[in-house]
């Protein structure tokens, strides 16, 4: 078994892919170097406080097989661009990308749009504790969704990325999403298991960049089965007068680690960072965020909510970091936990570091149970107490996605949320 593992590992990680452009193979090689140079995180690492650093050592888990199309999915509606990945490999793209839009799997994009792509793929991520893993992901970069919205282009319908996982083993996913000057687009990504039994390990990297004046909204619903685990490493960058929104709903996975590093840089750049988790049973969701204010007059707003059932556990650690000179910063960070059981555990570590003047910042976290007055009100309308609690918890979560201010994305996320409460 271990022999097979080693072979598999040596063949893929960091090695050159035959026929691929040199720059791309160089990225992979660089990834391998960084991976080898980096240390695994330990419990002493501040970014892993209360967490499970050992869980991040997933590199020895066998790679999941490349599978064919394994599920019947309804065809994408007219005018919708949809990627479907199975175990990280692109199986299909539906819909036609309009002029000015690139929507390609990575393993085609490297041949068809190489020059742009080379400069569009950012440096290796993982500033929030998973640097070694981010390097590993880079060393194995092979497929993914490359979405580039050209300057001035407006996409009416969200682009869909469907990630399906089947069989045991490790899969990698990658999304590069960029919006050129004044472009406007939205993306909805989903992570699903094809059955309740297979234990998948998903390593997902997300790079978002909004250029000057762009408006980019990204939402993700993660509903893997509860045998699976996932590490998501994300970065978003909002440029001058742009608006970058990233939202996620986690309902699946036994253990999920989610790191998101958001930068606002350039006058009046703004970003919204939204998350909801509904952990049940012994599910554990570990989320780390960083709001980096790199220049003056920027805005960032983070709202994370968790509704915890049973013996579930959440960890939220977030930092607002205001660079020297990033005056007139407007930054908010809120984590709210709704404790639906006495045995669940929510850990919150909000943080703030300000190195500028004239700054309006707030951060805070709360943990509470459903209020008796709300339950009484719903009961007084004939709704049984248990149902009342569900409705209130669902509303508590749903409220976050109203902030998307995007009807289609909101609807898609709310549907998954509603299913998780049904």
């Amino acid at each position: 078994m271990s022999e097979v593992l080693e072979e598999n590992f040596a063949a893929a990680s960091g090695s050159a892919i035959e026929g691929a452009p040199a720059w791309f193979n160089a990225l992979r090689a660089e990834g391998l170097q960084a991976f080898e140079a980096a240390e695994w995180p330990t419990r002493k690492d501040e970014n892993w406080r209360f967490g499970r650093p050992k869980n991040s050592q997933i590199t020895e888990i066998t790679l999941a097989e490349e599978e064919g199309m394994i599920m019947d999915i309804e065809p994408a509606p007219e005018g919708v661009i949809r990627f479907t990945f199975v175990n990280g490999y692109c199986m299909s793209i539906e819909g036609e990308a309009p002029e000015g839009v690139t929507a390609l799997p990575l393993n085609r994009a490297i041949y068809e749009g190489a020059e742009q792509l080379e400069s569009a793929i950012p440096a290796i991520q993982g500033k929030l504790g998973s640097g070694k893993l981010a390097a590993f992901h880079r060393a194995n970069l092979e497929d993914g969704a490359i979405i580039q919205i050209g300057a001035g282009v407006t996409l009416e319908k969200p682009i869909e990325i469907v990630n399906l996982f089947t069989g045991e083993g490790r899969s990698h996913s990658y999304v590069l999403l960029t919006a050129g000057e004044g472009a406007k687009a939205s993306v909805i990504e989903s992570f699903q298991s094809t059955n309740d039994e297979d234990a998948s390990t998903v390593l997902s990297v997300l790079d978002i960049k909004a250029e000057k004046g762009a408006n980019l909204k990204y939402a993700c619903v993660q509903e893997l089965n509860t045998k699976s685990q996932m590490i998501r490493i994300g970065e978003s960058h909002a440029g001058e007068q742009s608006d970058a929104t990233a939202a996620v709903l986690h309902v699946g996975g036994q253990w999920v680690r989610d790191e998101l590093y958001s930068t606002v840089e350039g006058k009046e750049a703004q970003c919204k960072i939204l998350s909801v988790t509904v952990p049940r049973g012994t599910q554990e969701f570990d989320q780390r965020t960083f709001q980096h204010h790199a220049s003056p007059h920027c805005f960032s707003d983070l709202l994370y909510k968790n509704a915890l059932y049973d013996k579930a556990k959440t960890i939220f650690s977030g930092l607002i970091f205001v660079d020297e000179g990033a005056h007139y910063t407007d930054a908010y960070q809120t984590c709210r936990n709704l404790m639906m059981s006495d045995t669940s555990e929510a850990n919150s570590m909000p943080g703030l570091e300000i190195n500028a003047d004239q700054v309006a910042c707030s951060h805070g976290s709360t943990s509470a149970q459903v209020s008796d007055e709300e339950i009484f009100y719903l009961q007084a309308r004939g709704i049984p107490a248990d149902t009342a609690r569900q409705i209130i918890a669902e509303g508590f979560c749903a409220e976050v996605f109203q902030k998307l201010q995007h009807e289609q994305l909101e609807e898609a996320v709310i549907q998954t949320l509603a299913n998780s409460f049904a």
Binding site: Y377, Q379, A380, R381, F396, A398
Partner: protein, 250 residues
């Protein structure tokens, strides 16, 4: 339905609030309860609805012969009781339309679903009577509502749930005269020989629009005086001074 309250005693954290209250509201009638602050008016409404802050220490409350005090709060509602709250709770993230729908759904047998088309038709009809903008359906329950909007929303729920006995707890508080008229219009549209109303209010003004059959005066946890609607006018003129001359009888 007829509501009969017999020798009702209730307390909160050991403090006795209702001290043997008797009241009978036959179906088809509207009764008003007035009384000074602290007389226990709102406590009465919450005890009848089943709020668990209050401990019932004696007496009974029946709705058409059915004992309410043994029921859960939601069972009382499904049995036909409706309480329009003085301070309705806010329920963030839950749209008004979904909230009312869930309340109606709770009245259906398992497996049966509300007909969405009929539901919205009925909802819009009632909203029109209450002059409520359509966008109320999508807004979160009571969140960011003005005082008047909250009260209208209470009446909307009352109209949708079609209860057999309604308690209005200071529904007029915080309403301007126009809103008061609209709310009253909604209530009056529900007057029926099969439905009873208990209207709790501080001010006679409301009773100009919702005309009561009987007015009760409550003081120190009991009904101390009952009379026709002219009693409300008397109270408006001379206040509750008379209570000091005629102490509440045991």
């Amino acid at each position: 339905m007829s509501l009969i309250v017999n020798n009702l005693q209730a307390s909160i954290e050991e403090t006795s609030i209702l001290k043997g209250l008797n009241l009978e509201v036959p179906k088809g009638e509207i009764h008003a309860i007035m009384g000074p602050n602290g007389s226990g008016k709102s406590t009465l409404s919450k005890v009848i609805a089943g709020h668990d802050d209050y401990e019932v220490t004696g007496g009974s409350v029946t709705l058409d012969g059915v004992d309410l005090l043994d029921m859960e709060v939601d069972e009382r509602s499904r049995a036909g009781l409706f309480l329009a709250f003085q301070y309705p709770a806010e329920v963030p993230g839950v749209s008004n339309a979904n909230f009312i729908r869930a309340a109606l759904q709770a009245r259906l047998p398992k497996g049966e679903e509300i007909d969405a088309v009929a539901y919205y038709k009925s909802l819009y009809e009632k909203m029109d009577i209450l002059e409520m903008d359509r966008q109320f359906t999508a807004r979160s329950v009571n969140e960011g509502f003005s005082g008047g909007e909250k009260k209208r929303n209470e009446i909307l729920q009352m109209m949708m749930l079609d209860p057999t006995f309604c308690i209005l707890d200071e529904t007029d508080s915080g309403l301007d005269i126009d809103a008061l008229k609209i709310v009253s219009k909604g209530v009056n549209s529900m007057r029926s020989p099969d439905r009873g109303f208990l209207v709790i209010t501080h001010y006679q003004r409301l009773l100009d629009y919702i005309e009561p059959d009987v007015v009760h005066v409550m003081a120190d946890g009991q009904i101390v005086k009952s009379g026709g609607k002219e009693l409300a006018l008397e109270l408006e003129e001379s206040g509750y001074e008379f209570l000091k001359e005629e102490p509440a009888h045991a």
